[in-house]
Amino acid sequence: MNKAIIATTSLAGCFGCHMSFLDIDEKILDLIELVEFNKSPINDIKKFTKMCDIGLIEGGCCNDENVHILKDFRAHCKILVSFGECAIMGGLPALRNTIPLQECLDEAYLNGPSVVGNNEKGIIPNDEELPVLLNKVYPCHEVVRIDYHLPGCPPKAELIWEALYALVTGNPLKLPYEIIKFD
């Protein structure tokens, strides 16, 4: 049997979902029997080298770079999975969504209590190298088509394992009550 090819990324997230992924402990040995990793921070492959079967997306989109990566994943993955609350609904980064971007940046770089004296020119970081912030943080499915969503902050390791196992083997997904949680 050909191994399924998997890619993962963390956009506007905290890598907590990836940590939870690694929490499958010894099952990781079973996993590598089933899958091969392509682009992913886990193996540090930076660019897609081939089409993948499954892409796991952690985090929502808070800047243009996130959007480009997400679109790249959509183009290279047959199945795309949002995993974790940030990918599904913006998560904690989206706390800023109720405040206009200008206000957020003004608070962070100009008016906030932690801004002390060293920004006299009132500069908001604008280097060409920096990604451009989006007006709000977007859940992934509001940018590209997402096939599955695994909730949790982070999603429980069992949930990630069960979902991947079901996707790769084609077996039905077992979802006992305890493993679906939003926190």
Partner: protein
């Protein structure tokens, strides 16, 4: 007074008392109809619409409609269950429900319903409505982000003269629940706790306490909401 009547719920013949609300009569027959705005013992309001059932072909709220002799009620049909799920999702997208950062997570009835209904695929666009957090009241925090406008607090919490401490403000999608600045100053600790507990979500919190139940021991960590009613049926 207690006149027994017969009605059918999803084809099951049930007994109830005349004048009893459908949701209570169902519960007495160990059948769970999900509710959110309802509080047993207090005049219902039918605000959230989650308990919608079909009575003689028409959608009615089970919390406000009394059972009557021979009533034929549909509750578990696929379309009604999907309607309920949709309402839960609408509430999630209307407010700003950041479960991971919420004190009520695990004990939240909205979240519990989402678990029960396996809310896994977001169908509606998240609104990210501009809401505020009010911390000026001595005993309470009001986090409007999480408020689902169920009116429980409005209906249940009054001062000693029967005046409202909580009330609606504005209308339509701008509706919000406000706390009376003057009356909230005189709230006792018990009253503040009662207000926090009556809130199905984490919109009303009592100050200086929180996260008292460890993860794994919270109300809805291991058993779906409604299990208490349904488990009786299994015994």
């Amino acid at each position: 007074m207690n006149q027994l009547i017969e009605f059918r719920l999803d084809g099951v013949v049930c007994m109830g008392q005349k004048g009893q609300y459908i949701v209570d009569a169902a519960s007495d027959n160990n059948i769970y109809i999900p509710t959110l705005c309802n509080i047993p013992g207090i005049k219902p309001r039918g605000a959230c619409r989650i308990c919608s059932v079909r009575v003689n072909g028409k959608l009615m709220t089970a919390c406000t409609t009394p059972v009557s002799e021979g009533m034929d009620i549909e509750s578990k049909s696929a379309d009604i269950e999907d309607l309920r799920k949709a309402i839960i999702e609408l509430l999630f997208t209307e407010g700003n429900h950041f479960c991971p950062a919420c004190e009520r997570s695990g004990n939240c009835e909205l979240q519990a319903l989402a678990y029960r209904y396996q809310m896994l695929v977001p169908r509606f666009k998240f609104q990210f409505s501009k809401r505020t957090v009010e911390a000026s009241h001595p005993k309470l925090i009001k986090d409007h982000d999480r408020c689902i406008l169920c009116k429980r607090c409005i209906r249940a919490i009054k001062d000693e003269k029967g005046r409202s401490i909580f009330a609606f403000g504005k209308r339509g999608h701008q509706v919000e629940i406000n706390i009376d600045t003057k009356l909230s100053k005189n709230m006792t600790d018990e009253q503040a706790l009662e207000a926090a507990e009556i809130c199905p979500v984490g919109a009303i919190l009592k100050k200086e306490q929180g996260f008292k139940d460890p993860i794994g021991q919270r109300k809805y960590d291991n058993e779906p909401i409604g299990s208490d009613i349904e488990n009786l049926a299994l015994q």
